[in-house]
Assembly symmetry: C2
Homo-oligomer: 183 residues x 2
């Protein structure tokens, strides 16, 4: 049965949000179109009214999930929150880059384009609140810190040893802070 235009827009958001959560938690391949649609409150047949293919959904989900929320953040405060055990354990609500980048760079060109755009925005955003006298220095700090944050999050997640996992988070936090102090 046909539904109202507002309902259609709402359903689209629901699908993108469900896909965002499930992809982050379980990766692109192991989540099925039918599961996503069920989570969004629809049946799988309706999917192709919204998206051209699963690949299309992946690209659009990435673009949707990577649109930044708040702006002007302090880099060190951001890093402290990012590199927390809470964030590590919150796969489905956490950073899409850390959850999906290894799979994303093997996806189609649209998905890569969305990731690239997200990366650009994130670097610019972090550079605003980064330490450093000149703009180039701020940008370098943003890039280095962001690499360390994403890397540390992934390493801490793959460790089955909780102590090592915490150590990676804590020492990377300290390391980024030390970098800052020395300037």
């Amino acid at each position: 049965m046909k539904v109202s235009r507002e309902q259609v827009a709402e359903n689209r958001q629901k699908i993108l949000c469900a896909a965002g959560r499930m992809f982050r938690a379980r990766g692109f391949d192991s989540v099925t179109v039918a599961e996503i649609m069920k989570d969004a409150g629809l049946t799988h047949g309706a999917f192709y009214g919204y998206f051209k293919s699963k690949e299309d959904l992946i690209a659009q989900t990435l673009a949707h999930a990577l649109t930044p929320a708040a702006s002007d953040v302090d880099l060190l405060r951001y890093a402290a929150k990012y590199l927390s055990p809470d964030h590590r354990d919150n796969l489905e609500g956490g950073c899409p880059t850390a959850a999906l980048c290894a799979e994303a760079f093997r996806q189609g060109p649209e998905a890569k384009a969305a990731m690239t755009e997200g990366l650009k925005q994130q670097i610019e955003r972090l550079a605003q609140g980064a330490p450093g006298a000149k703009a180039a220095e701020k940008r370098r700090n943003a890039i280095g810190s962001w690499s360390a944050m994403v890397g540390a999050m992934m390493l801490s997640r793959l460790s089955d040893d909780p102590k090592l996992s915490e150590e990676v988070l804590a020492e990377t936090r300290n390391w980024i802070r030390a970098q800052d102090k020395n300037r």
Copy 2:
């Protein structure tokens, strides 16, 4: 037809190497058991004489690929080589952690255990050649630098903009070097 014991041992290595290369290049899910066996010069039926399942192969391939080659490396020299465009473009021969960690942490417990063991060894190895007066400082530098290296490699790979990709590599290299100088 039966083959000799040496042939069996050799075939096993061939399968593990082929799997290592193909998994790094294309991820776990999109590589099929049949493809790996073909690359190793066998047919898919022989697979289950060597491994219990595809999941088993994944865990053993990770353990195989993560056994470190050389020891006592200088951290800065290592970082310079690691963060090069050559390494970025050499997915199938490059670092297994950067290529597979996002997928690995969603795999079974054996795969995670192999990754954790590899991470421990890598941190200890890098700590030996890391700057710092005390052991704790060396270890912190190893962890922070390794996080930054892995993160930067993944970010540079997902960028479809070559300039941004090079910038991430170069600036993370500079950032790690700056961290060193300030001690």
